[in-house]
Subunit: 383 residues, 2 copies
């Protein structure tokens, strides 16, 4: 059986990156590794669409979110949280842990947070020091309108913190043009690497907030240290996961070679095809405003997704994701981000048709894959 | 040229572990990965010599030190720090960052902290909540007497936090028998893995302190979450560096197969041979109470170690370490920990003889390697 990893993180890693991970370990305080860091930093800026320094942390994405929040906010200060799913809830849990007062702006799972709701919250809470948002809500497949949030937050004293962990390198994300002050992402999604690294870009406006936040108790996640080390010495403050960073160079080179706009276009096509496919099978989309990195389909009434997902893996090698918490068994989440192409999407749709048929759901064989193929065929010219 | 990595972290990684790192990435919320975590947890307990839960963090070793300190101590509380080098200073910097009052017990670099000094500090500061120590001071090559510290701390209300990052799996370290309450180590030394993971074992006494420390502001490094996830679900609270953990299984299996007592014996022999070798060349040891994971030699007057270290790498492929901070140029640090054998030590000594000769230092060719070989030959019986 041929395995295909189609979970919304970790995602598949290119073969040349995997092979790099098997190379002998080298010392991280060396001219060679400083050169790697220099290149990786430049390529991260390219992918982030930013001139800002990108801090490279050895941690999961949650560590990056903690760094963003804890560097900007002190206990007792106020943050507006735009919550559209489980990963938005993580901002809430972080605020609770760090004693930050949370103003919650939430929507039912499956919906995006409308910019108007943020506009009202900012008007009601002019003392908010930060706004926390999620680009791609991995739990529901929703894309939030970060560009619109940025326009609202930029004229205020608040900083905009965005979790782009499953969105960066998938859908357009213009860190500078959209006024994202702290942009947090992780290695194991569209950046095509195993988990273990988080990245946080910090705007000049955010650095001022961070420098003024003298009450913060920080050490491992002190972003100022990462900034100073990378800017002045092309180095890191603590021993980094250097083999992951060296391997990431190859994945980032791949993105640069494809061109970030083309990366977005590819994902847009994969997303459109996957959505057309599941709908043609008779399934409904869960997300009202879908992201392009994963497709979340609702299960029909009386059909539990758990055994289908299990069968997809055991029988067909297709590893997709279940819903989390209250959504477990009710949805199926198929990721198509990073090192993924149109044929991976066709494989996923084909497998889904088969397990639905086996479960007695009336799907016309080929309907899903044909609908996806029609999307892929758009724009392909006959010779 | 054949490269040999002889820095005191990262150290060399076995080939089968490297190859595992090149395998396709898999999903981390799965029965397969829970099985990996179960095995790794058991093998970590074996290497730690503990019945306590070992928390597996995705971070550098410093993240593990922060977790140990920040979970136990609140701002304003007092800790006794036993400092014998740069890595002992890290405890001080952590205390500063977290507002912990530090009682410093330090010795000149090259010496170990005598247990009597801790005895006095404990008597002078009965309100100390913690004692922070370093097993193997990587900056100076010194081994501290953790067993003696443990005997002094155990009857007090204080908890004993030990950084064993470059010592665990090298020299004897009996977490339970020595009363180490929080034992912090990292992946990239004797555990034979690239950097990216930290491990913290926590004693029942320490859990009580941690549970009572309700003022702590923790999220990513909240050890209670790691304990609950690993104990109840064989899982991790946040996306772990799962490829590193899967690969670590192989390195830990290697340690279990060799037997931890034999691992210690091997390192004892490597350390004894390296020390005999550098002394036979006419160099002095820097450490008064040397650890077995690295050998630190003083440079003769008027001889700068920096160009020698550079030449060892460029001309002979031997990557050893310089002194740090004020010790730069004054010492040379040769590591022999983890995936290292007697012939690696001979190679290092041979290279050192050659660059010393080239620098005009009067060393008799073969004196260092012969002295080391004599150590290796001890106990080898003629047939």
């Amino acid at each position: 059986m041929k395995p295909r990893l189609l979970t919304p993180g970790p995602s598949m890693v290119p073969e040349e990156t995997l092979l790099e991970l098997a190379r002998p370990v080298t010392f991280h305080r060396s001219a060679e590794f400083r050169q790697v860091l220099t290149e990786v930093e430049e390529d991260l800026k390219y992918v982030f669409r930013t001139k800002n320094t990108v801090c490279i942390l050895t941690s999961s994405g949650t560590g990056g979110m903690e760094a963003a929040l804890a560097n900007c906010l002190s206990p007792g200060q106020k943050a507006i949280l735009l919550i559209s799913g489980r990963w938005g809830e993580r901002w809430k849990n972080l605020c609770k842990a760090f004693g930050v007062e949370a103003v919650i702006v939430s929507v039912p799972y499956g919906q995006a947070v409308p910019p108007e709701a943020l506009k009202k919250a900012l008007a009601d809470h002019p003392d908010a020091k930060a706004v926390c948002a999620t680009l791609s809500e991995t739990a529901t497949g929703v894309a939030n309108d970060i560009e619109a949030y940025g326009k609202l937050v930029a004229p205020t004293p608040a900083v905009l913190l965005v979790d782009t962990i499953s969105g960066l390198g998938v859908v357009p994300c213009e860190t500078d043009a959209w006024n994202i002050d702290l942009n947090v992402t992780g290695s194991q999604k569209a950046l095509m690497l195993p988990p273990g690294l988080a990245f946080v870009s910090v705007s000049p406006k955010a650095w001022k907030v961070i420098e003024a936040n003298t009450a913060a108790k920080l050490f491992y996640f002190d972003l100022k240290k990462y900034r100073d080390k990378i800017e002045k010495e092309s180095d890191t403050p603590y021993t980094p996961a250097n083999t992951l960073i060296k391997a990431m160079r190859l994945s980032l080179q791949r993105m640069r070679k494809e061109g970030i706009e083309n990366v977005w276009k590819r994902h847009a096509k994969l997303g459109a095809a996957a959505r057309a496919g599941v709908q043609a099978m008779g399934l409904e989309l869960f997300a009202e405003r879908p992201t392009d990195g994963l497709t979340v389909a609702k299960m029909p009434a009386n059909l539990d997704s758990s055994p289908l997902i299990s069968k997809l893996e055991k029988q067909y090698g297709l590893r997709v994701a279940n819903g989390q918490d209250t959504l477990k068994g009710k949805i199926i989440r198929i990721a198509h981000m990073g090192y993924t192409d149109q044929f991976d999407v066709l494989a996923a749709l084909s497998g889904l048709e088969l397990v639905l048929l086996e479960a007695g759901f009336p799907v016309k064989p080929g309907s899903g894959v044909a609908a996806a193929q029609q999307v892929f065929a758009e724009g392909v010219k006959a010779s």
